[in-house]
């Protein structure tokens, strides 16, 4: 008991120490969170009418963000495979960072679902025993199951690694490896089930394409590692965790392949729609060219494509991916490309025109932007704090007895 207390105190010390940049970062995140909270209080009072969600476009920005972040959460752990195969230095560290990112992304996912719900006060109705989950028929019930399972698994692995290191013991590969290996199929299933949530809806031809789940995975393999690449660079500079250049370049190379598959699948979809020119072309057409004067998403569609293609070439050419400037530019491009593609680009055209042919042009309101900002603030804050505690534990400067606060 005193051990736990001591650990918590130590954690507090870790969070409270840092340089100016660290505190400026925390302050910025706090501002974002406060803005989000204010916006959410307003939304909770007046209802979802504070958003531009309407009957015609009944899912929108929140659900788009949720979908994108499921991808980030899923892909972070998929890193484990190459990390293991290519011996990128300490597996433990790489796994841990992936899992921390997954936990933060999952926290954001759950928050985005919460703010999208009309009655978050009735969340318990979805839980087994207390409520009546429509399982196995409802895909959202499945999604809740796999996301929570994945979250639990990640927390267990993180706690295990950190606890062992904190206690000054080695992690047992016989325990760690099976857990990590289980989390791989679970992470794939979170993203697949999220894809099926859309995919299963015959009423929405834009989503009702079998290519959706593979595309989800391909794009997730791009957006997740993009975060990790930037993170690895920061951590290398600020901590003693050894991450080789080769590891980062290898990751960039894998992203190029993932982006190629993603673009190829997109091409296959576009060919089918534009060549066969059925009624169902209207949704794709709305996204890429607009329908009449309704062109709200057209600039987003093309900038997303442009960003993804540019990033593909950056990561494909060895010279460009080994140059830190172009590499980081590529990460930003891939992040924004996938963010549009898996966010508004997935959700809105699925519902525009609506099932009765009506075109309602959706654009997020200020309240939606603010709430999203707040949720990203929470996610980054969770991640920052987790990393702040974990890194000194891994580095051995934050240990069980006589721990000295490590500042970087």
């Amino acid at each position: 008991m005193t051990g736990i207390l001591q650990f918590l105190k130590g954690c507090g010390r870790q969070i409270k120490t840092g340089n100016r940049a660290y505190f400026a970062w925390l302050a910025a995140l706090s501002v974002a969170i406060v803005i989000g909270v204010i916006a959410y209080v307003h939304q909770a009072q007046v209802g979802l009418i504070a958003t531009n969600i309407r009957d015609q476009v009944s899912w929108a920005f929140y659900i788009g963000n949720f979908t994108f972040l499921v991808g980030v959460a899923a892909a972070a752990v998929l890193l484990v495979i190459p990390a293991y195969v290519y011996h990128w230095g300490p597996l433990k560290e790489v796994v841990l960072l992936g899992e921390l990112l997954a936990i933060s992304a999952l926290a954001m996912c759950l928050l985005f679902i919460m703010v999208d719900m009309g009655r978050p006060d009735r969340l318990l109705h979805m839980f087994p025993l207390i409520g009546t989950p429509n399982w196995p028929r409802s895909l959202l019930a499945w999604d809740a199951l796999v996301l929570n399972l994945y979250l639990i698994l990640n927390v267990v692995v993180v706690v295990y690694i950190l606890f062992q290191s904190y206690a000054g013991k080695e992690t047992n590969k016989k325990i760690l490896l099976p857990l990590v290996l289980i989390s791989i199929p679970v992470s794939i299933s979170t993203h697949t089930v999220t894809a099926f949530l859309y995919n299963g809806m015959a009423a929405r031809p834009y989503w009702n394409a079998s290519i959706l789940a593979p595309r989800f995975l391909a794009s997730a393999f791009c957006s997740g590692p993009a975060v990790m690449i930037i993170l690895f660079q920061i951590l290398r500079k600020t901590t003693r965790i050894p991450i080789k250049d080769e590891a980062i370049w290898k990751l960039a190379e894998l992203m190029a392949y993932a982006m190629f598959i993603n673009l190829f699948l997109l091409g296959a979809e576009l060919f089918k729609e534009f060549y066969s020119q059925t009624q169902e072309l209207r949704y794709t057409q709305y996204f890429w060219f607009g329908l009449g004067k309704h062109r709200a998403l057209v600039p987003y569609a093309w900038s997303s494509l442009l960003a993804s293609v540019a990033a593909f070439f950056i990561f494909l050419v060895p010279k460009l991916r080994q140059n830190w400037v172009t590499l980081n530019l590529g990460c930003l491009l891939i992040w924004s490309g996938v963010y549009i593609e898996k966010g508004l680009g997935l959700v809105i055209p699925g519902m525009t025109p609506d099932t009765l042919g009506e075109i309602y042009e959706y654009r997020p309101t200020l309240v939606e932007w603010s709430i999203a900002l707040g949720i990203f603030g929470v996610g980054f804050l969770v991640f920052t704090i987790l990393v702040k505690i974990s890194v000194p534990i891994l580095a051995g400067t934050f240990k069980t007895s006589g721990a000295t606060p490590a500042s970087h």
Partner: protein, 319 residues
Amino acid sequence: MSPRNPLPVVPDAPIDLAPDLREHDVDPERRAFLRTAAAGAALASLAGCGGLTMEEFFRRHFKELTPGQVKRVLARVEASNKERFGRDTKVTAEGPMEGVEFGYGLDLSRCIGCRRCVYACVKENNQSREYPQIQWIRVLEMDKEGGVDVSHAEQYYEPATVPRPGKFYFPVQCQQCRNPPCVKACPTQATWKEKDGIVVVDYDWCIGCRCCMAACPYGARHFNLAEPTLPAAELNPRQHYLGNRPRPKGVVEKCTFCIQRSRNGRYPACVEACPVGARKFGNLLDPQSEIRQVMETKRVFVFKEELATHPQFYYFYAT
């Protein structure tokens, strides 16, 4: 007509609907809400220990409630109505009648697009008037040249007189599918299909995730984006728990074939309001019913039959 679901077999004692105007009295003991009696009883004892608010919070699913609990739930809704609108209301939970399966027919050659059905429905079913404006029936104006095709449908037509030349009108509301995608999508079983074919929503169980709205191919489900705006003077006091009782903010609602009327042998409000007799309604299990006569003498079709939702709502051209 859907190929996989032919008309149901006619039962021994078909019930004639039209003249049967029974009272609205609640008789919860008669309800067949207890599908799993034993489990229900066990849960009832669990839910019973607690105050009203606790009971509300830890309430079981509507179908698992005992008749006594249903009575208390209905009383609570009436009390909340009184608080919200300052008026006395009668809220029932009339269950489905034996041997009745509702079917609806819409004669496209008669409909003139006047939207009287829409307004009658809004009034009868206590829909939010504006901000948000909720209308369970949407009338689509389409070109005669184009046939039934939503890609050239216009819902917001406002000419001085209808019908307009060259146009025909295609009203859409909940099609009460036999294979309802909305019911499948709901993560909490807050919406389900009753024995008489009506797809209902428990507004006290819905979490407002709107999966059902994404799943519905007919745009039949509507969301209370804000606290519904419903003037107290216009409140319809005769209410059904699964139908037209006033909704809270943040839940989904839809057409129920006027469950508060149809389960008492009355026509839905839209059928009564239609000035040209384009709307037909009756018991599919009764070979003498109006809807069965339509099917017998006219050729009917269902909307978006390729999705195999097998609606209990049929369109036809009488002339």
